[in-house]
C-alpha cells in the first residue's frame, strides 16, 4: 500500500511541478498580439493556399488587421462572404469583387493538335517546357503533364484522359491562382466567372503567324481579327497574332463566337442559340489565314 502511495504522490508531485513550470513559462513568454487577428483568422477558410498573396491564413489575417482599407485584400477561397465577415470584425466595408475562376486557354486536343514527337522526360510541364516547345507543332499550347493539377489544393483541376487537357471543376475552383503560377506556358488565366457562370474567352495562346498556328492546330487562334470586327463593345484586342477578350468590357453578346473561323472562341454555360447564324466555310478561313 505504501508503495502505491509513494508512486501516486511522486507522480502527482512531478505532474504539479511540470504544470507550474509550463504555466510560468507560458506567462513569461506570452506574445501580446491584437486579439482581432485571431478573430479574423477564425473567419478565414484555413486552407493556407496562399491565393491571397500571403504565406498563409494567419499572415493574411494580420495583414487585414494592419491594413488601412480592404482594397487589394481578397481571400479567393472564401470569396465575398468571407471578406464581408472579416470586414465586419474590423468595422470596415469590403469592396465588392467579381467572383473569378480559372480558365484554361487551350483547346488543342489530341485530335485537333496532332503529336509531332514523343516526350519521354520526367512527367512535369516545367521540365518539358524548359527543354523544348512541346510534343506538338504548337509551342504555346498545353503540355498536358499536370503541373496545374499538382498545384491545386482544392482538387479543382483535372487532366481529361481523352483530350489530355486540364479541365476546371467550377464548384471547387476558388480562383486562388496556384495553377496560373504553376503553368509554365501561362495558359491558365483567372477570369470573371460571369453571371450564371456564363463566359466567353479565346481558348488559345498561340502567338505564331496564322498559317503556322493553323498548321499545328485546328483550333488555334490565327489572329484574323474577325472577332474584333464583330464585337460591338471593343472588348477584343489582337496582339502578336492572338485575340484576347477583355472580360471587363465583354457583355457576353456572343457575336464573336460564330465568326471565328477556327472555333477558338468558346462560350460556356449559355442556353442554345435560337437562330443559329450560318457558320463560315472552312476554305474561307484558310484564305484569310
Amino acid at each position: 500500500m505504501s508503495v502505491l502511495l509513494t508512486a501516486v504522490a511522486t507522480l502527482g508531485a512531478i505532474g504539479a511541478g511540470s504544470a507550474a513550470i509550463l504555466y510560468m513559462v507560458g506567462q513569461r513568454f506570452k506574445v501580446e498580439e491584437d486579439p482581432r487577428i485571431q478573430e479574423v483568422q477564425d473567419a478565414l477558410p484555413a486552407a493556407n493556399c496562399g491565393g491571397c498573396g500571403f504565406p498563409g491564413c494567419s499572415s493574411f489575417a494580420a495583414a487585414c488587421v494592419k491594413a488601412e482599407s480592404m482594397e487589394d485584400l481578397l481571400c479567393p477561397v472564401g470569396g465575398q462572404n468571407t471578406m464581408d465577415k472579416v470586414a465586419a470584425i474590423l468595422g470596415r466595408q469590403a469592396p465588392v469583387a467579381a467572383k473569378k475562376i480559372a480558365v484554361v486557354r487551350c483547346s488543342g486536343t489530341c485530335e485537333s493538335r496532332p503529336r509531332t514527337n514523343l516526350y519521354d522526360g520526367a512527367s512535369n510541364c516545367t521540365i518539358a517546357a524548359a527543354l523544348y516547345g512541346g510534343d506538338t507543332g504548337c509551342s504555346f499550347g498545353c503540355l498536358g503533364l499536370g503541373d496545374c493539377v499538382d498545384s491545386c489544393s482544392f482538387d479543382a483541376i483535372h487532366i481529361n484522359p481523352t483530350t489530355k487537357l486540364p479541365e476546371v471543376v467550377e464548384d471547387k475552383c476558388t480562383a486562388c491562382g496556384a495553377c496560373v503560377k504553376a503553368c509554365p506556358k501561362s495558359i491558365i488565366e483567372l477570369r470573371k466567372q460571369g453571371p450564371k457562370s456564363r463566359r466567353i474567352y479565346v481558348s488559345c495562346v498561340n502567338k505564331d503567324k496564322g498559317a503556322v498556328a493553323k498548321k499545328s492546330c485546328d483550333v488555334a487562334c490565327i489572329g484574323c481579327s474577325k472577332c474584333q470586327q464583330a464585337c460591338p463593345f471593343e472588348a477584343i484586342t489582337i496582339e502578336n497574332n492572338l485575340a484576347y477578350i477583355n472580360d471587363d468590357k465583354c457583355r457576353l453578346c456572343r457575336k464573336c463566337v460564330p465568326v471565328c473561323p477556327t472555333k477558338s472562341i468558346l462560350e460556356l454555360n449559355f442556353p442554345p442559340r435560337k437562330d443559329t447564324p450560318p457558320a463560315p466555310k472552312e476554305e474561307e478561313a484558310i484564305v484569310t489565314a
Binding site: T116, N117, D120, I127, A130, L131, G133, S139, V212
Partner: protein, 443 residues
C-alpha cells in the same frame, strides 16, 4: 603520369567510331537558316533586311549588350526573310533565311591555307578581333569568348588551359580538328596567351586520344611555354571546373569563376576559330560537326557552314536509319534531343547523334533505394537524390543550402541511377528556380 579530377566521375562507353575519319566538306544547300541567337546571352539585332545581298562573312546580326556575339552570313546570296524558325533550343526563334547564290567571300578574309605564325597585335586589338568575329565557346556552352578573355578587374590570369578532352562519348570533332589543325591551334594558343598576358598554357587531352597526345607533345617542343597533359579517361573531365582541378589541382569554390584560381579555359575548337579570326580575318561561320550513331552508315566529321540543315549532314553520313528513335544535337550526356531534323547547324553544334529507338526510350522510374551511387559519381560532390526530392516538394531554401546551383548538369547521376530516376531533370528545374529566387533577392 595521367591526371584526373578528384571527386566523382563516370566512364561511359566511349563509342568514338568516327575517330580518325578525315574532316570532309559539305556541299552548299539552296538555302540556309541562320538563327540570331547562337550563344548564351542576348540575341542579336538583325542588320540586314529582306532582299539584301550578302557575302560569306557579311555581318547579319549585331551583338546586343556585353554578353552577346556577332553573327555573320555563312554563304553568299540574297536575304529571303527574317522570320521565326525552329532551332536547337526547341522553340521557334528569330533567324535570317538566306538564298544561296555562288560562294563569294568578303575581300578582307584571307582564304589561303598557309600557316601565319606572327601576330603583332596588342592585347586589346586581339580581343577586338575576336569580338568582331563573333567567336563563342565551341565546346557546347557557346559563351561569348571575348567576355571570357576579359578578366574582371582585380583578377589576374596565371594559366591558360586548353580543353582537348572531348569527354562526351561518340563525339570526335575536337579530336579530328586537333589532328588536322595542330599548328593553327598552337598559334591560337600563343595569341590567347598574349591577349591574357599569361606565361603558361597546358593542353589537357584524354588518354583515349593517344595520337593527339603524341602529335602535340612533338609540336610543343617549338613552344617552351606550352605543355601537354595526358588525362585519365573520365567523364565529365571537359567540365571547366573539373579540368582545372585535373590539371592544376586547384578547385574553384562554389559560385566562383575559374579566374579565382588564376585559370582560363578554352576549347581547342575555339582556339582554331580564334586563329582564323585574328590571323585570317575570318569570322566564325563554320565548324566541325561529328555525325555518328550506332546504325549510321558512314559516321563522319563534317566541316559545316552555320545554318545548313542537320538533315543535309545526316544525309552525307548515309541518311537517317529506319530505326532511329532520337536525334541529339551534341553528345549523349549533355546534348539536346531534337523534335525534328530540320534544324540549322549553329556555332555550338559539336555533333549529331542518332540513337536507335530501343536505346532511346527511358525505363520507368522506380522508388529510390538509397544506394547512394548518384552521390559517389557527382563530380561536384552534391547529393542528387536529396536535391531531386527537395525540388519535387519545392523546398527551395534547403535546395539552395545544399548547393543545387553548383550542379553542372553533366548527367552522371541520371546515367548511374539503378532505379532509373530522372534526377537531373528535376535538379535542372530546381536549379533554375533557385537561381531565380537568388536573382530576385539581389534586386
Amino acid at each position: 603520369m595521367l591526371k584526373t579530377f578528384r571527386i566523382g566521375g563516370i566512364h561511359p562507353k566511349e563509342q568514338k567510331i568516327s575517330a580518325g575519319i578525315a574532316i570532309q566538306p559539305i556541299a552548299l544547300p539552296d538555302q540556309v537558316i541562320i538563327p540570331l541567337s547562337q550563344h548564351i546571352g542576348a540575341p542579336c539585332q538583325p542588320v540586314v533586311k529582306k532582299g539584301d545581298t550578302v557575302k560569306v562573312g557579311t555581318l547579319i546580326g549585331k551583338a546586343v549588350g556585353f554578353v552577346s556575339a556577332n553573327i555573320h552570313s555563312s554563304v553568299s546570296g540574297t536575304v529571303l526573310k527574317i522570320d521565326k524558325a525552329l532551332d536547337a533550343s526547341g522553340y521557334r526563334r528569330d533567324a535570317v533565311f538566306i538564298k544561296v547564290e555562288g560562294d563569294e567571300w568578303e575581300e578582307t578574309i584571307d582564304r589561303s591555307t598557309a600557316l601565319k605564325k606572327e601576330c603583332t597585335l596588342t592585347s586589346e586589338e586581339i580581343l577586338q578581333k575576336i569580338s568582331k568575329a563573333g567567336i563563342v565557346g565551341m565546346g557546347g556552352a557557346t559563351f561569348p569568348t571575348q567576355v571570357k578573355l576579359t578578366p574582371p578587374p582585380g583578377s589576374k590570369p596565371e594559366i591558360l588551359i586548353i580543353n582537348g578532352v572531348e569527354c562526351e562519348p561518340w563525339l570526335t570533332s575536337d579530336h579530328q580538328l586537333m589532328m588536322e589543325k595542330a599548328d593553327e591551334i598552337l598559334v591560337g594558343i600563343t595569341i590567347v596567351m598574349k591577349a591574357l598576358n599569361v606565361q603558361k598554357a597546358v593542353i589537357g587531352i584524354e588518354n583515349n586520344k593517344k595520337d593527339a597526345i603524341r602529335l602535340f607533345t612533338e609540336k610543343v617542343k617549338e613552344y617552351p611555354r606550352i605543355a601537354v597533359q595526358p588525362l585519365k579517361v573520365q567523364y565529365p573531365q571537359g567540365g571547366e571546373k573539373q579540368l582545372i582541378d585535373a590539371i592544376t589541382g586547384r578547385q574553384v569554390a562554389s559560385g566562383a569563376l575559374p579566374i579565382s584560381v588564376g585559370a582560363v579555359v578554352q576549347n581547342v575548337g575555339t582556339l582554331f576559330a580564334i586563329y582564323e579570326a585574328v590571323q585570317k580575318n575570318k569570322p566564325l561561320i563554320e565548324r566541325v560537326v561529328t555525325v555518328t550513331g550506332k546504325e549510321v552508315k558512314q559516321p563522319c566529321n563534317v566541316l559545316s557552314r552555320v545554318g545548313i540543315s542537320m538533315n543535309d549532314l545526316i544525309n552525307l553520313a548515309g541518311g537517317i536509319p529506319e530505326t532511329t528513335g532520337k536525334v541529339v544535337s551534341g553528345g549523349p550526356m549533355m546534348g539536346k534531343a531534337l523534335a525534328s531534323t530540320e534544324i540549322p547547324v549553329t556555332k555550338g553544334t559539336s555533333g549529331i547523334l542518332l540513337i536507335p529507338t530501343l536505346e532511346a526510350k527511358r525505363k520507368a522510374m522506380k522508388d529510390c533505394i538509397r544506394c547512394a551511387k548518384c552521390i559517389s559519381v557527382c563530380p561536384m560532390g552534391l547529393n542528387p537524390t536529396l536535391l531531386m526530392n527537395l525540388t519535387e516538394f519545392e523546398v527551395w531554401d534547403k535546395a539552395e543550402n545544399n548547393y543545387i546551383t553548383d550542379c553542372i548538369e553533366c548527367g552522371s547521376c541520371s546515367y548511374t541511377c539503378p532505379a532509373d530516376r530522372p534526377l537531373l531533370d528535376y535538379i535542372r528545374l530546381g536549379k533554375g528556380k533557385v537561381n531565380g529566387i537568388i536573382r530576385a533577392r539581389k534586386n
